[in-house]
Amino acid sequence: MKRRDFIKYGAVGFGVVSVCGPNVFASGHNRRRVVVVGGGFGGATAARYIKLIDPGTDVVLIEKNDQFISCPISNWVMVGMKAMEDISFGYQGLKNRGIKVIKDEVIGIDAKAGYVQGKKGKVEYDRLIVSPGIDFRYDLIEGFDAEAKKVFPHAYKAGPQTVQLQQQLQSMKAGGTVLLTVPDGAYRCPPGPYERASLIADFLQKKKKGSKLIILDPHQKIASKGKLFKSAWDAYYGDVIDYRTEEIIAAVDSKRKTISTYEKEYSADVINFIPDQRAGKLAFDLGLIPDKKLWAPVNPLNLESTLVSGVHVIGDATDAFMSGPMPKSGFVASSMGKVAAAAVIAELSGKTAPLPSFANTCYSMVNDSEAIFVTGVYKYDSASAKTVKIKEGSKTSPGRSEYYGKCARDWATSIWSDMLS
């Protein structure tokens, strides 16, 4: 076992400033250390469950932000059902469990020597778990410059853009037009854009009489919970929603505030452009993405990168062809965090990782009180050496209800607590 008496933090330009304090690892020279990069649903859950499974392992969580801001429920904030502080949480709960939380941005890795390099310093690890999330593919769209990013918020990573879109909706005049684009390819939270559309339509109907919502979707039909969303839209938003399929965005013009498909130019008072996506930049920086690919391939058994050994990749950034046919959801990321935690603890003890078991539970609001849901159960199938979907456990709700809406609220309370408390 390597010597693990301190974290070499602050080595770049600050001298040896032990961010964690000199005593933190003093009694644990020989304790194994797992470093987790990224404090979202995947990373925070992984860090917490490693401590739960084996309190004797040192766990370091490196996160670039002070707070976790939840994407699930951020659509509620956008239309005033919740406030930003309701979906923003610090990492004190994890710190209280003895997890070292370091604010830094990781920029590189030396897998051979076993350390990650941050902007402020480096941290050694015995195993690394990274949860890089997603980034956006603006390069596909003509005219998508820095100005366009300001004018057309994606609001698809909860944070300042959530507030920006909320303010744009609030200040829009009655009778105005909102335009929302749905991403193509694999993207985070497949029902997310449609839940957002539902809540915006509900908001417009109640607060901005006579307004319209245009949805430009590259798919042939609603890509997730389709029948349930369509049924709600038909019942409630016939006069509000103008839903258009097979619409591929080619260009934007931030000065004129227009957005163009190959056939038509659209203008609107508020434009929520949700771009196509790829694994978060971190995954590319760490060499976890093959050339010309967008997502990180992993071993389905323990979620270890097939490109860099000793590094496990979890959450939205994973390639579903390898990790399993799970949607890119917060619940699945949390599920992956638990699988990676169990695998890492087992393997560091020289044992075989237990077979993975994943689940998904995802609620979407169709107005300010009713929800619909989809579930998924995923298990490892030895015959095909893949994680497969268990069809019987993977279905949508029979309809929409206020009861499901209450469950959605509980879902959030519970999963936030299961990752951060």
């Binding site: 689940a359 849901f373 579930t375 159960v377 268990i390 709700s397 509980d410 519970s414 607590s417």
Partner: protein
Amino acid sequence: MLTRMFFYLLLFVSFGIGTSLTYANNDSILEGARLGKTCAGCHGTSGASPGRIIPIIGGQVEKYLSVCLTDFSADKRPGDVMRNLSKGYTAVEQKQLAALFASQPWGNTPHASVAHEDAGLVKSCKGCHGSEGRGRGSFPRVAGQHPDYLYQSLLEYKQGRRSSGMMKLVQKMDDSSLKQMADYYSSLK
């Protein structure tokens, strides 16, 4: 095999049941721990649900948990996520999950209602649920459960959407009495 057993032992300790080694060879619980970590997403870590309507299942009566899973997978309980998810697990796995959560410590609801016992209302509950409402046999613990969940359950029994022999006795009760019963039991520890 030894390898796996050691790992399971770690898992087992992590779920807070390591204080008693009497369960150390209980494969059911250990396998439940492998499968059951995802349940925490909705039911809270170790089944200690922090919500209001999603029930606390950590420390619940084992036979009852088992019946819940079989009833959900047989479509005998109203449709919620459990009606789908339960079908993703075999009968054996359902028992393992029940064993896991039953082995965990019960934590009372943080949302307990302030309520006074109406002797007439809850007299008939005690025979099955126990004098303190802590459950026994295949009858669930109701003491310290979330009041919103208890009320929702009582309404489901009243409306005939959920059935269980004795629970028919709530069918003639008014909703405010059901609410009072739910509040009362939520306040017990």
